[in-house]
Amino acid sequence: MFPTDHAPFPTTSRPRVLVITGYGFNCEAESIAAWRMAGAEPIPVHFADLLADPDVLGTVRALMFIGGFSFGDHMGSGHVIASRLRHRLRPALNGYLAAGGLVLGICNGFQILVRLGLLPGLDGQYFRPLVSLATNDVGTFRNLWVRVRFEHDSPCVFTRGLPPMDLPVRHGEGKLVVPNRRILDRIEHQRLAVCRYVDSLTGEPARHYPANPNGSVNAIAGLCDPTGRVFGMMPHPEAYLYPDQHPGADRQRLDGGLPPEGLGLAIFRNAVRHLRTTAPDVAAPA
């Protein structure tokens, strides 16, 4: 349904991934490209069609909420989609999660997972919001590249073994706030704070703009749930699929440091690897 602006990729043993579109989601082209390049079969489905036919969740093994401005970010980013999911799709989502399906949320998608209460999902309790993503400390939307680091003792299946990398952030409401100290402690203790903004020189968590672009507590850029199968982050790995997308690609090329592919692709490759090495709990499509 969306313009097919991709080169052909091979199509053997490709896990099916649902990419939710419509209502102001904006990152469908690059998200579809990312899953394809990583070896999956992305299936774009309009949010209205998903609500009309939730059974489609039973035919896929990963579900992605992409970046964008769903409902124009009115009433808070991700607020309206989360409200609709809670009212209309809760049983279907519960079934999908129980069957071991993956969920990825990037930027607006992460905001939705947080507002929906899928993240951090402490004690396996979903639909219970515990944290929030608030307006950036600098007060405005920001688009810049930042260095992020992934915590390797985390259960997250998307980030296993990933090196620190530069990724773009593009948001106005990305500051993770955890009003309850005990909840923050549990998030950290269970290693759910899987992705952090770091200083590019020291590699340590950054506190201030621009390295920490929004003022997130503990420099947290992304969270997973205790199963490691639900993951969301503010930075955009799907915006770093080709090496030349990095703003320093010109220098990397001169210095011989240009990677063969965009580093963000690794997150999608990890997901596909996980799906290929685990038995499908969900029915394959007829």
Binding site: E30, F71, H79, A134, V177, A239, Q245
Partner: protein, 997 residues
């Protein structure tokens, strides 16, 4: 009973929105504001039990970070409360979204719940803050009373009063009427009808309409239709006025011009557009095989490769942005998006461009009544562009700002959009529109209100104190984004045969123009969905309510199209049929309220005749500086409004969504220096791409508009070449913004302005044909004047030239910053004594206290010199010889070298005496001349011989070296260094001007 919901942040959480307001109040308005706390308010017009109200309130707020109450939330400490809502009938995007949440909570369809209205509270505190301070804060920073309501309460007033639930409902119970207008009246009366009705029709045009209604065949047809035979209805007169408006008809560019350059010798030019613009492109088309559709459709189309076409359109939205910066600009950006959306069978949107001309945001002088402070205009305009662009998911690719006090009266707001069109859609060539009689007229998107009525005629007027608030629309990117997704689906399923957007003139324009393809239309206004009752038929026809497209749908696809629209939450309505009757018939229910013959509608407008007289202006140069170092001058230029870094506001807009951007708007080690041009992939998985660049320079117009236009064409072209573009694959767009060249009592120098326009067009012809860069689309805005308190402020004549070109391989592009210490620096192209109207002369003139003494030779390119340079540059880049390439523009070589050093975070040592230059050139000209067609390039020493070979035959010289020490040192031969500055200091100065703004 309606109820009120208040939502605030939990204690202990920062309120960046309030902090931002407090900061602006202190720094910009100089008010003693200590703290501002903000809250959101919703007024829900629905009768619900108390417990359901509380449930709705909880669903409206974030459960973790917000506190919420039905009625009133306990207020924070404050001195004044400012509550801002929308006026009745003004688009309230947030309120509309809240209504859908309400419907979800109640589990019903959105149209079954009452409307919801949003408002915002600002609790302001500060010692000594008086009511008039709060009023100023509201008026000059927070609200625009054209569209918003402001309520100000002192603490005790607020606490004593019950929570207000006053709904901004449109309570107009006016029954729709159609008037007819007698035109058999004296000339003064004709003019009065035009003026009072804001029709902007001249006497000649009013007479042409009057005469049309005297024709017997016209009268007979009208009798048959049940219309008053001898006079137009208001529907007809309004439709004619809008179709014939300067905005839509480009009457000045179509006029016969009597041009006098040598006294006594009058040259007759039949249409500037035909003579210079269309003719240039037609000539170039013989040499370029990739022009698909030019000047015909909503945007120009070029072939990109064997799969894709590209379309590009740039618009201005000046007058609305002057009245309501935010609303005007968001409408500008989402409005220009609809041009490629309505081009061919509808493009996919890839990138936006923006550019502004403002008065200084630091303006300290008086602001004429009715105008806004330029700081406020700048903030509001950019926020509008950002919201429109971000929410639509279209990345920005280029942006610029230019500043001049004359933009105080009318700011210029340029918005552009690049679209991509497959060659074939649903088995049909995608660039061709077709309509058959019997096809259904379908309007899709938003509803119709009084928004923007008379926008087209209004933008053709100078800004007056009483300019109508109705002329302001507020775009809603979210509604349009839904519409866009729906249209692309419908397009790919082949559900419609033609599409165009509803912009200026609304349905009158979209249906009026589309129906020329079939030969007529029959439109029923009573079927159009309205935002509120009480609109007269002519208002429905002309409304510029946003986010609407008009389609021609084959009857057999109508059900499928309407069903798809329903499933995509898009309102789509059949409003009539396309016919071959030769007339545009407008009805309201059973009654015909207008019938306009297409021939008269589109070809009946009499042609204007304008006189133009060119007298070269006598502008003295500023008194030169004494010999010596120029560190102060270079720092002043780096910190000047035009050259200083605009990174902060730029980065509030997403430049990377869609994942196609490669060479980004900011480059360099810290990604902080503006690139010469930007490059994006055409599609995922492809390494082919396109380049975007632009040229603009209103200042050269003070000396000669010929040189101005020649220079901006050259600037756009050489920027594109700088990163790897090729001259044979570049297309251009022209956007003219002019002061009114039509004579009137208040416009005594109209003939000079017209002569400036003639010279500008000649340059456009000369340079585009010499370069072989065809113009594929353009726009003119011809009334950029403001009359306030008897004073006319006219903008300097301004032309924006934007270019779009093909890039063979996006992995081979070159950026502008110095890369490696030890790299050799060369200058390509000749530096001449061209300091007239340059940044340097303008700075020096101001410093001397003679700000208008900016004279000197004005920069002007020569194709014979430029073409070999561009060919050599293309060769050098293709051969991968260059580590960096940067074209000097404002501030000349000195600023170019400084920015390349800042970008690379390295230094440079350069001998200015080695720069290729005309004889006896002064040091200041070497440093600051803005001679066109030049480059600063670097290459590693071991490729020096190859580089020299690549540039054989054109002015070229090695002038210095990139150094590890981060310091810029420019010397003149064996003489002293005239620039010696640490890069960190240059960077700090360059970034300080617009620090966080």
């Amino acid at each position: 009973m309606s109820f009120r919901i208040e939502i605030g942040l939990r204690r202990g959480l920062r309120d960046p929105r309030g902090e931002h307001v407090a900061r602006l109040a202190r720094e910009f308005l100089r008010l003693p504001v200590r703290r501002v706390v903000t809250r959101d308010v919703y007024l829900v017009a629905d009768d619900l039990p108390k417990d359901v109200q509380r449930c709705v309130a909880r669903e409206f707020a974030d459960p973790v970070s917000a506190r919420v109450a039905v009625g009133r939330l306990p207020p924070p400490p404050f001195d004044w409360l400012i509550e801002i809502g929308y006026r009745p009938g003004v688009t309230d995007n947030v309120g509309q979204t809240a209504r859908t949440v309400l419907a979800d909570v109640l589990d019903v369809a959105p149209d079954q719940v009452g409307p919801v209205f949003s408002a915002t509270q600002f609790f302001v505190s500060g010692a000594g803050l008086r009511r008039e301070h709060a009023e100023r804060l509201a008026r000059d920073l927070l609200a625009n009373e054209l569209i918003q309501t402001v309520r100000i309460h002192a603490r005790d007033e607020w606490c004593a009063a019950p929570p207000a639930v006053e709904l901004p409902l449109v309570r107009d119970r006016h029954a729709p009427t159609v008037r007819d207008i007698r035109l058999d009246v004296p000339d003064e009366e004709l003019l009065r009808i035009s003026r009072d009705g804001i029709l902007s029709l001249s006497l000649d045009e009013m007479r042409a309409i009057r005469d049309h209604y005297r024709r017997e065949d016209v009268r007979a047809a009208r009798r048959a239709a049940g219309l008053p035979p001898d006079r137009p209805t208001d529907v007809e007169l309004e439709c004619l006025a809008q179709t014939w408006s300067e905005h839509c008809k480009h009457k000045i560019f179509a006029a016969r011009v009597l041009y006098e350059e040598t006294p006594g010798r009058v040259e007759v030019i039949e249409s500037l557009f035909d003579t210079y613009i269309r003719r240039a492109t037609e000539q170039i088309a013989r040499r370029r095989d990739w022009l698909v559709s030019v000047f015909r459709d909503n945007a120009g189309i070029i072939r990109f490769n064997d799969r894709w076409h590209l379309a590009y359109k740039v618009e201005t939205h000046n007058s609305p942005s002057a009245l309501d910066p935010y609303g005007g600009a968001i409408t500008g950006i989402v409005g220009v998006n609809r041009d490629p959306m309505g081009t061919g069978l509808g493009c996919e949107l890839l990138a936006n461009t923006w550019g502004y001309c403002f008065a200084s945001p630091f303006h300290t002088g008086e602001i004429p009544a009715g105008l806004m402070h330029p700081r406020r205009i700048r903030d509001g305009v950019h926020r509008g562009v950002v919201d429109g662009g971000n929410q639509s998911g279209i990345p920005w690719a280029r942006g610029f700002e230019r500043f001049d006090e004359r933009f105080l009266g009318k700011p210029l707001v340029f918005c552009g959009t690049v679209g991509r069109l497959p060659h074939v859609v649903a088995g049909r060539p995608a660039h061709v529109k077709e309509i058959r009689p019997g096809d259904v007229i379908v309007m899709a998107g938003g509803r119709i209100g009084k928004d923007g009525i008379h926008g087209a005629t209004f933008s053709s007027e100078e800004l007056r104190h009483e300019s109508p608030a109705q002329a302001v629309q507020i775009g809603d990117a979210f509604t349009q984004r839904k519409l866009y997704d729906f249209l692309i689906e419908a397009r790919d399923r082949g559900l419609y045969r033609a599409i165009t957007d509803n912009g200026a003139g609304g349905l009158s324009s979209s249906v009026g123009e589309l129906c020329t393809l079939s030969g007529g239309a029959d439109l029923d206004l009573a079927r159009a969905p309205l935002k509120y009752a009480g609109l007269d038929p002519w208002e429905i026809l002309l409304s510029e309510a946003q986010e609407r497209m008009t389609l021609a749908v084959p009857p057999e696809h109508l059900d499928e199209l309407l069903d798809l629209a329903r499933r995509r939450d898009v309102e789509a309505t059949a409003l009539g049929t396309f016919t071959q009757s030769g007339a545009f018939v407008v009805r309201h229910g059973d009654r015909i309220v207008g019938r306009l013959e297409l021939d008269f509608l589109h070809h009946g407008c009499p042609r204007m005749e304008l006189r133009a007289r060119w007298t070269p202006p006598a502008v003295p140069p500023p008194r030169p500086l004494r010999a010596g170092p120029r560190n102060t001058a270079l720092l002043a230029l780096l910190g000047s409004l035009n050259i200083a870094s605009k990174e902060w506001i730029s980065r509030s807009y997403d430049g990377e969504v869609k994942g196609l951007s490669v060479l980004k708007p900011f480059v360099g080690r810290r990604a902080e220096v503006p690139s010469d041009a930007t490059v994006m992939r055409i599609a995922h998985g492809s390494n082919e791409g396109f380049v975007l660049a632009e040229g603009i320079n209103p200042y050269y117009s003070d000396l000669d508009t010929y040189a101005m236009v020649a220079s901006v064409v050259d600037e756009a072209v050489r920027r594109a070449i700088s990163v790897g573009g090729t001259l044979t694959h570049l297309a251009g767009l022209d956007n003219f913004c002019w002061p009114d060249p039509v004579p009137s009592a208040t416009n005594p120098d109209a003939e000079y302005k017209m002569a400036q326009l003639v010279r500008a067009n000649r340059a456009l012809y000369d340079v585009t044909t010499a370069y072989g860069v065809p113009l594929i689309s353009g726009k003119d805005s011809m009334k950029n004047d403001s009359i306030r308190g008897g004073r006319r402020i006219s903008i300097p004549p301004t032309v924006l030239v934007s270019v779009l070109g093909r890039i063979e391989d996006v992995r081979r592009v070159v950026t502008m910053d110095f890369k490696r210490p030890g790299d050799r620096i060369a200058v390509v192209g000749l530096t001449r004594d061209e300091l007239g109207a340059s940044e340097f002369h303008r700075w020096l003139a101001a410093r001397r206290g003679t700000p208008s003494a900016i004279g000197g030779r004005v920069p002007c390119p020569a194709a014979a010199a430029a073409l070999p340079i561009y060919a050599a540059m293309e060769g050098a880049i293709r051969a991968n010889l260059l580590h960096s390439s940067h074209t000097p523009t404002l501030g000349g070589l000195a600023v170019a070298l400084a920015l390349a050093a800042i970008g690379g975070d390295v230094g440079a040592v350069v001998d200015l005496a080695a720069v290729p230059a005309e004889p006896d050139l002064s040091d200041d000209a070497r440093l600051f001349s803005e001679s066109p067609s030049r480059y600063v390039v670097t290459a590693p020493p071991d490729r020096a011989a190859d580089v020299e070979a690549a540039f054989r035959g054109v002015p070229f010289a090695w002038v210095g070296e990139v150094t590890d020490e981060p310091r810029l040192r420019l010397r003149t031969g064996v003489g002293r260094e005239i620039i010696n500055l640490p890069v960190a200091r240059m960077r700090a100065t360059w970034q300080r001007t617009f620090d966080r703004m």
